[in-house]
Symmetry: C2
DNA sequence: CACGACTCGGAAAAGCTTTTCCGAGCCTGT
DNA sequence: ACAGGCTCGGAAAAGCTTTTCCGAGTCGTG
């Protein structure tokens, strides 16, 4: 028994009564369907306006069997990478009149299951999984039926799942070729833990761009500035030190640049440095500012929105696609712009 | 005409039919209401389990006039500060069975209005505004009736709006008193733009902790490392230079620390430095690591969740409350722990 | 003038759950 | 053995919108 209906929430029945027409007529007037005299239509529209009427999406959804709602399940607690994706996704979906449920699963399968269950209860029209994990994720334990599911910046076990990812390998090629174009010949790669697929892909792109690979120039470690500093120190101790470094992300790049600065090694003249992620608070605060590869995560989110809408319409099929990265040159690889 | 109902979505009617009971009986069995023989109840529960039945929240919400849904409207595009708030908020609300709609208004009133309108259509039970802005925000142009509205890390024009904020002033006192406790006497304050209320509050806390204030030691500028570096240079040029610096955020603090490091000034021995925000990627990557003030944004989000739930229950009233900050000492103010 | 056709608005069902009210059947006590 | 009371399950309405179908009224034309 809904006791206290919000004072300013009117129902279609109220509109109809005020306009002096029947329920169905009012509906048709507002939806421009059916055949009505324009006079009647205007009467209804006026009444609706006066009352500030807003149709109840719940009833609408119940009736049409479509909720105009999708769920987003993040596994990195709304971390740095999820944000721009969410932003792009939300923009596109909002334009299509679709609202976004936010859930944070934090890589906890139990929590994820509860979230999915809740979303299914809300009859979402689609589901998006996001959040970089070390590696591919197992399929969620729940039967999702034919609900559209999209993995963004994240992957699934299922072979034909719909995935949307940045082209890490291409980005790495972009970076390496940029360094090659500067005439560098000994290019090191200081990057993150090997159990990230992105790390393996970037490394592959790096290796593919080189005519020959020197394994001593490839260093794996944690994603931190401290590791960048340590790795730089190690590289400088080599008998034949590199003339360029491609870092696996901007934090590592910054650690490298700082160490080179400490040792009065000129960047980019002696050693050029390029990062990955284009995280501006890192890349632009460094001295010199760090060139980087932008994964265009906001575009990735927007593309995810478009693709999900197509899937909801039943138009599109699964499959993995990768969106190109972009080179953002800054002072760490370019001599006086 | 809902044509293709999802294959694995069964309705209560299906459960009832399978259990050989009527609709109402099935409902009562699942909700543990009414008076049923336990045998009948079990029969229904079994059928529901076999079918994987999940009640349709849409219908439920429609019936009870409560959607178990709240909207979150962010004005900083899901920025760095919104994330932990969202995380805390989502955790608490999820435990209460409430789902969270995410909207990004980006300080665009038109966009915000459309979002609110959409949320009202979805009959959300409450609304949360978040996202640091330069200053207080005008009340949204829509009549919200008696819908619970909570401003988190954000403020409203309305005098008795419900606001939840970090205690910037107290945090600044914490920082300043920490420096005083180290025996420092000339404490500078390098901070952000004056049109941020947080900047004014932090400055007030700083001034309140000092026996006398030297205006030449207070510098306003942008929120960046570059500004921290510039301000540090200026402070070092003073005839009577400070022996401690309280920075308005961690980026500024890091800029300061780097400049001091460049000039071989010992931190903290010659000049102690403390930041604000406790942004770990900044504070912990710096050399030395930077002491900071933590606003406990995740707790703020959690508290927001609890408070919103009380408001939805009709228990709580408006008013602004501020949650305490915490001192996180690191190497930039403590000599070898 | 009358009939047919067309225009417009209303009634009703569907979509799914919850809850109240009521009826039927069974048991017990006299 | 019968009446009353209690236990259990079913029927129905409410919550709000959309859509189909149908009836009534009107206009035009023969």
């Amino acid at each position: 028994m809904p006791e206290a209906k919000s004072p300013n929430r009117y129902t279609l029945r109220d509109v109809a009564r005020r306009a002096g027409v029947s329920l169905g007529t009012a509906s048709k007037a507002l939806n421009k369907s059916g055949t009505l005299r324009s006079e009647t239509r205007d009467k209804v529209l006026l009444a609706a306006n006066e009352l500030g009427f807003r149709p109840n999406d719940l009833a609408q959804a119940l009736h049409r069997g479509q909720s105009f709602t999708v769920g987003l399940i993040s596994n990195d607690s709304f971390g740095r990478f999820t944000m721009p994706i969410m932003e792009g996704l939300e923009t596109v979906l909002h334009e299509a009149g679709i609202a976004l449920f936010m859930c944070n699963a934090t890589d906890d399968p139990e929590r994820e299951k509860r979230h999915i269950d809740q979303l299914l209860g809300k009859r979402v029209d689609g589901l998006v999984f996001t959040g970089r994990r070390a590696d591919r994720r197992p399929a969620p334990g729940l039967a999702l039926g034919n609900l559209p599911v999209l993995y963004v910046f994240s992957q699934s076990d299922e072979p034909d799942a719909a995935c949307l990812l940045p082209d890490d390998e291409g980005g790495a090629r972009l970076a390496t070729e940029h360094l090659l174009a500067l005439g560098r010949t000994r290019i090191a790669h200081v990057t993150g833990p090997e159990d990230f697929e992105a790390v393996r892909l970037r490394r592959r792109g790096y290796e593919a761009s080189l005519s020959q690979v020197d394994p001593t120039l490839i260093l794996h470690g944690p994603w931190s500035e401290a590791w960048g500093r340590e790795a730089a120190t190690r590289l400088l101790a080599l008998p034949n030190r590199p003339d360029a470094i491609f870092a696996g992300n901007d934090q590592i790049a910054r650690g490298i640049v700082e160490t080179l600065r400490d040792k009065a090694i000129a960047v980019p003249d002696d050693i050029a440095v390029i990062g990955f992620d284009n995280w501006s608070v890192m890349a632009e605060a460094s001295r010199p500012q760090i060139s980087s590869i932008d994964m265009n995560l906001k575009s990735l989110g927007e593309e995810a929105g478009h693709r999900l809408i197509r899937m909801i319409r039943g138009e599109s099929q699964g499959g993995t696609s990768r969106l190109p990265c972009t080179l953002v040159p800054r002072a760490s690889t370019t001599t006086t712009p």
